[in-house]
């Protein structure tokens, strides 16, 4: 399994929650999403550091999006939370990190793979994940109306 950090998942959830709501404080977001408050604060701090959201201090402060979600590629979120997108530790022509460097037949060969992944992720915005299937491609229907975007 190609694991993505849980925090990235939270980040996407929180970002979609911030959309169109103006400024929201961390505790409110925690209540709305069901994510523990300290964790929400942690994720938002990371996102603020990357410039994806703005933190407003003081009373009546909170967080707000610095860009609409439709202009925010998923790759940026992942890069902000999980670090640079790379499939393996053995990438980007790093030298001297691997003791099998000289006998390894695939040295540096992962680069095209990483490039493919990055490209795939750049084509998807956070808005695509949040939208209730505006123009869904031919795929199995969700069959789960559930309570998408319930305003707790």
């Amino acid at each position: 399994m190609l694991r993505l950090s849980k925090l990235t998942d939270y980040a996407v959830v929180l970002l979609t929650r911030l959309e169109g709501e103006g400024v929201q404080a961390a505790p409110d977001l925690a209540a709305a999403t069901g994510i523990a408050e300290p964790t929400v604060a942690k994720v938002l701090k990371i996102l603020a550091g990357a410039g994806l959201v703005e933190g407003l201090r003081g009373a009546r402060g909170g967080y707000r999006l610095s860009r609409p979600l439709a202009e925010l590629p998923l790759s940026e979120v992942i890069a902000a939370v999980d670090g640079p997108i790379a499939l393996t530790a053995c990438v980007d022509s790093a030298v001297g990190l691997c003791e099998a460097e000289n006998t390894c037949p695939v040295r540096g060969r992962w680069d095209p793979v990483n490039r493919a992944i990055r490209q795939a992720l750049s084509g998807i915005t956070v808005a695509d994940l949040a939208a209730p299937r505006p123009a869904a491609p031919p795929a199995a229907p969700p069959t789960r109306p559930a309570a998408i975007a319930a305003t707790a």
Copy 2:
């Protein structure tokens, strides 16, 4: 960072090592690649279980490829070693696994992302990783001849 298990890395190395060499025993492969012998055995067992290599028992036994690498998409190797390719634990319309299921605005939305990743990986074969750039697409040159495929 979008982590890929180290074992997958080993798997690719071992597969490229098996290419065109006929039957090879695990200890030989270990010596050739610099990977610890028990680990080599472990990886090969996994690959054999997935049908990517064949294990031949008995004296003069060993492993050999069941398919040429050029016909082996990377996605199969990853799926064999790391399990099904999926970016997050919250996928494939799994129900009841997430306590925030009802308030989560991105439920099931990761599917297109996973599909994109899968597609990107399906287009790359193991041979692409091993080959010394037979017909490289327009991309930045490696600028690192290094010691690719040194026969230790």
